[in-house]
Symmetry: D2
């Protein structure tokens, strides 16, 4: 249970943090959408605000007037049951509302949320505010990855800032920890916030396996590249092979070979590739092919969760072999909030752990992130498993 | 273990049966490819023949001369490691080789296989022949579904024949059988042929559930349609919703509303919809939305397998909630034959059971069929499960 | 004016000739449609028959019963005002009606036309029959070019026959004939049949120019290729440049470089390129770029017509610089027949002359053929002009 | 001949005017590209600047250093021979350089041009500066139409300013002026600047015709709409019909039916449709269909030019029936500047006159504007012609 003071403080910190993330940006950077998966930063700022306005203020704040009647249309995302959404590919066409107007919208909503929380002890409101905070934290991670894409695909390769650390220090040797076969409990058991997709604690039976305590590094991934891993069709899924051939993919995203040396675009600008850093910006397809080449495999999300006390996580979202599916007894929330997770449970892969872009306290070992298998713009990586 | 006599007889019967399936066709029907998922019948006849030539005759038959040097190029499918394949969408552009030439090719290869088996006791050859028989049986099912699509999408709606039974008699009342929670064994334990994807007997832990002993009928599905199931976005996955809206999907495939009455194209021609027949030609998306609307769900493939002694199957391939993933300890065969199953283990859903189009003795309760979630041209249906 | 006997004989000869063109085909060759511009031969046979049924028999033959009620739907082409047409890309999906049924349809319609003409002296019918004959002759040319495409894009490269002459003998030296500036009359002045787009004799003013009396040859075109003509963007229209780069075009259609020697697929099979033959299967874009490279240009259709007594034509359709536009006082026929020409008068280029595939007596020096500038599957070529 | 003082003054005014056009914009408006035909305003500002830097400063200014080495890549457009261009659809993905940087670039280049002109009497430089001025004026018109598209397709429908006059007063009655048949001279005969595509004065022979002295109005166009003009396929070109059906086009661009009354988005915001204003934002296809419906036709560009003293022009670019083709003796300039006009002479229609968005003194009666027939975002309209 969250008490109101902490909740309000958490809300205000979260709202402020989204704006801090954007502080190094130029106005122009807020506007563009180079690919459909990336949203313009001003859209993230507006959408997270709309979420609070739509699900809380418009319902629970007496006499609340929406900041702008058209913003629900502009800043809605996938909430089909709320209204006609902007076609997703069109977000990058919208020069208005301006960045300044979006900030005004944010401050308007934040201040009304503040007074609502100060006036009100309704638990339902508090629960919704908490969901809104977590929703905004998810978008904070997307803000960072989308900003990276916007700047990293600009021919001028501008840097974001000098302080963001993409590659925290890692010890070099990798050990494998063996997990015995048996029944394990999976799912969130705590009392704090979690998403509906983590709920429904249940048992799974796992066969014996051994899991690496370190992520795969750039150095190891380079061995795969140099061994022509991208040219051996037997290592790849059929769809993956078509995808790498059609898109001419030969390295992770953001790698540039300059004078026969690999460089990597980072939020700090273009840098020589650090061989000891965990490999990142790879698709599930590449993670799988690497593991095939190595003669090992990816963990399932259950193997990952059952073994999590044996390793550190939080630097790369780790692709698992598991498809994103409902847990037994999964029930989605009624109404529009029920669209949060369940409607995406097809054709996606689960990632576990968290990354350098994940906001503080936002991840946990039961957290189930998910993306389509070909997506690379997140800070994704991989950890290996061996059968025993 | 298969003894040679039986193997040869099984081979010859299988080869003959493929040709029997095509006997009602006009030459023109062998040639066209209306959508990418459907292959021209002459391609199926050639491809199953090429499989025997490529993996057996060219390797084990002394002095064997290929029937035509370009046929490996024309009739290969997805075997990336064997050679440059014909772009799949182009199969329907090829008027040559003619149907007669394909039949000559078939007879050439069948007769060389016959003499090879008569001369030879090599177990490796027998194993490969057995795989080739099962491969051809899989294509026999595709022949029927592809023929249905070719004829059923022709404005003249020609019938295939008068004898194929799409809707065997079903008893009408449905009961649910409860399965207790616990550890169940999954996978093929027998000694006869099975595919690599069924191997690796292993334990899974299942929660308590109840499974229907009958398939969902057209009548039940009509209730969903009449209750505006295709118009309620909350019932659908996000990708499903985009798909039904983009493709204007409002009924199962092959349904035609004529004078306010639903008709269904069948291999016997256009018929008034039979309300008691199990619904078919639906996508996973539709099966899922139907179950959501009903307040129930699809079984996982493990729940299906653990409960299979409680119901009959074999009339419709039953969509499960399970993604098509490798079993623990799954190992694909080395070389090109290893491309058979493993490379498709992403973005597909498992179907269990078998259908009216499945050849005799080709299915079993551990058999794992798989298709992309939007595909409807197979005889797919669904069975419901309730949580307990 | 055509007298009935001649008209009937011309009709029967034309109907028979379409079938002769198809006589070397296998049934399968009648069915496929490798690209949208190519129609299946059985469609041509059915469409030309439907034209007679739709515009003559169904209107003027007492008690006439259509051969099949759905054929209007299957064999209509672009006649928007007649009914819902088959989406053009789908012609190659239709296995039915069969080739035999199409021939039955042809014989049914031909015999009813015969009896109609024998019974009837109505001039309107005769005029329509004459249009139908010319319509079918146009499709005879398309039959040949479409058959060439179907066979020439099959990996087995089957020949059509041994007798079709693609490259009649040409004398080698080219001379330029100078035409003085002045006012010239353009358009059809005769009393025989011509299309509406040739009508409206009118004056044009031409500047002085000189026109070649020979077509450009393969040898000359090879010089352009060897001088890197396909790599010099300054020679090409902007749209042309995008088109050759996107489609990786480096030679005319049907050229194959084998062991460093150019070969050309012809209706007689694959042959070594004949340097003295007029170049063919080039787009307008390529014709234009060649002329730019040569420092000359293409004639306008008016220059071509005004100079036509100075050269032979009829071996290649000759790209002109003229866009396909209405002549002054052009008026299209009322009703569906008015869709014949006028509706295509945008984004197309005029070609003059005729080709080896043009039926006897079908072309004349006022005949205006037209195609989109990127199309290559016709027997197109070019003649050069110099400013004076 | 332009004397230097006037040239410099003209240059500085032109450079300043582009910036004035953008002065009502928010920073965000400079960045987006909603469709491929529209460029972001900051791209126009940069591209016109790059033109001066590339063709003048880098070649003629001693010791000139480019403002930024990557800007040639970012701001080049279609000049294939200069270097690898940015894929056109990607212009809207580029947040950098920022608007401020683009203005710095402009001022850098303008000030170097100023000193170059002050130091230098080289006629070649003056000629190039004059081309650069006219090039920038062309982009001033595009700036206005692109800004209109960017704002007019934003769901908030923001206005540009209150002073831009889209619909100057027009007298209401239309008269037709008859032009006798005969030979007329076409092309630019003056001594001032004109584009290469206007050069080559030459004679054309025109048949007798009568041309309207007024543009078609909204009121007249509404009659066409209300008479189901958009539903009668016989009025339309085949490609036009496919285009209006595919894109669901039923009115000119920017028309909105609100409460059964037509409104029109203008640079001054959303307004009730003015029936007396000349219709605008229509494609050639619509102009042609309207004329067909009216039983009249569009003028050719030669008819327009020969009759121009009988009417006023400059409010709408007037679609003509003429395709955009080279005049006799047309010769494009050598090198990259030769790409200015000639490479677009295919698949486009000529427009004559000028519009409310055309900069002062930029148009003349010999000016040949050109666009693809489906494009509507320019201030296009039409004038009718009758045969006599």
């Amino acid at each position: 249970m969250v008490i109101t003071d902490n909740l309000l403080s958490s809300l205000l910190q979260t709202r402020a943090h989204s704006e801090e993330i954007c502080s190094p940006l130029q106005t122009e950077d807020y506007v563009v959408q180079p690919i459909v998966d990336v949203s313009p930063p001003k859209w993230h700022l507006g959408h997270t605000t709309w979420f609070f306005e739509e699900f809380i203020l418009s319902k629970y704040k007496t006499g609340y007037t929406r900041f702008h009647s058209d913003f629900a249309f502009v800043f809605n995302s996938y909430y089909e049951s709320i209204g006609k959404r902007v076609i997703r590919t069109n977000r990058g066409n919208l020069s208005r509302p301006t960045v300044n107007e979006v900030y005004e919208y944010r401050h308007h909503v934040t201040s009304h949320l503040k007074s609502l929380l100060e006036e009100n002890e309704n638990q339902q409101i508090k629960d919704l505010v908490e969901i809104g905070i977590h929703h905004e934290k998810q978008h904070q991670e997307l803000l960072l990855t989308d900003i990276k894409y916007i700047l990293g695909n600009n021919p001028l390769l501008p840097k974001y800032n000098d302080t963001f650390i993409e590659n925290p220090k890692m010890e070099s040797s990798t050990e494998y920890h063996t997990i015995d076969e048996g029944v394990y409990e999976i799912g969130y058991k705590g009392k704090d916030f979690c998403y509906d997709n983590e709920l429904g604690v249940h048992k799974v039976f796992l066969q014996k396996y051994a899991i690496a305590d370190k992520l795969v590094t750039n150095k190891e991934y380079l061995e795969f590249i140099n061994d022509n891993g991208y040219e051996d069709s037997l290592l790849w899924h059929a769809e993956a092979w078509d995808w790498i051939k059609k898109n001419n993919i030969k390295t992770p995203l953001y790698w540039h070979e300059i004078d026969k040396e690999y460089h990597q675009y980072t939020l700090g600008g273009l840098k020589i590739l650090n061989p000891d850093a965990p490999v990142t910006h790879i698709s599930y397809y590449e993670a799988f092919a690497f593991a095939q080449w190595k003669g090992e495999r990816l963990p399932t999300e259950f193997e990952w969760e059952a073994a999590q006390q044996y390793f550190n996580y939080g630097v790369r979202w780790e692709w698992t072999e598991s498809a994103y599916l409902p847990y037994p007894n999964y029930a989605k929330a009624p109404g529009a909030l029920g669209e949060y997770n369940g409607k995406f449970m097809v054709n996606q892969k689960v990632l576990r752990g968290g990354s350098v872009a994940t906001p503080n306290n936002h991840t946990r070992y039961t957290y189930r992130n998910f993306f389509h298998p070909q997506l690379r713009w997140q800070f994704n990586g991989l950890r290996l498993v061996k059968n025993k």
